[in-house]
Symmetry: C2
Amino acid sequence: MAVDYSLYLITDRHLVGNKDFYRSVIKALEGGVTLLQVREKNVSSREFYEISLKLKKIARQYDVPLIINDRLDIALAVDADGLHIGQDDLPVATARKLLGREKILGYSVSNEEEALYGERHGADYLGAGPVYATDSKKDAGRPIGTEGLKKIKQTVNIPVVGIGGISAENLADVKRTGADGISVISAILSRDDTYRAAKELIDLWNE
Amino acid sequence: MAVDYSLYLITDRHLVGNKDFYRSVIKALEGGVTLLQVREKNVSSREFYEISLKLKKIARQYDVPLIINDRLDIALAVDADGLHIGQDDLPVATARKLLGREKILGYSVSNEEEALYGERHGADYLGAGPVYATDSKKDAGRPIGTEGLKKIKQTVNIPVVGIGGISAENLADVKRTGADGISVISAILSRDDTYRAAKELIDLWNE
């Protein structure tokens, strides 16, 4: 599957509230989001499953692949396009084996060692960061900066997406590292007009 | 796989503390536990995976099947003998499909309607309860009593295990319902001598 990593939106219902959540995501997809990840913590498996089913239908309408964060069981249950795992999730080789070769497997890294490990054990792409300080993920480590992102990108042959505190203001710096795209949460979901937020980001990226 | 449901231990690390957790489980297996379930909440997937791998090795030594609570991905990743799901987890038919026919699938029910639903959609056994009030599971509903357990047992053809507040004191009443076994947490794990606790329960059950 040819995947466009340019503008990768990760969901966070807490930033938008339940009521407008799906509408916010739809508008962001209309604005130009190219890849969508469902990230849910502290919900029941059933709720995670139901949310993912809904987002899968929505993503299909925009021809955007849907990726599930952490939970391989949810990814399999909704037949998502892929899975994204971090250092605290299932081992990457185990996830690849259970997910099959056809699905997209992403892996979170913050240094070159983790990047090489992920590439060698079956990841299709890497989410590298946090590039900048961020409030969206409480357990994110120390920022690696654009320098850290650049090193990771130069270390591996698979696509690398920058994540963490990326916005319209610093997007050009991130792009200059050679990264294949940016992954955002609050830069889109904390904005009232998620269509415009996504449109601005993708236009800047494509400049 | 012929499964002995007589004395089904569900793990709860919070009742014993991390230090003595594995030792407590080993002693309980030596005492006569016939089936072991790993239940973990609010841990990372990696931690759940690591704990399950350890308990699988331990359970193997006693020829006791290992069942994973809720998380199909962990069950697949450690190649557990089965999965136990509740009303807030993946749909039972979805779980059965992804788990395959060879593995044990358990389903939590509290009434006859849920019991029939589980039986029809692929469950191998039912965990029915709470029979009595219990502190071990915060979100457990109103006790169904031995009457409720008996009705469930008479409604389905698959094995039914009573759960919730079962101890040496009320075990005879539970057995009289026709249930195929008892599932316990604190009746074993909150005791200092988990070997003796398990031995007492299995001896009473086999009387």
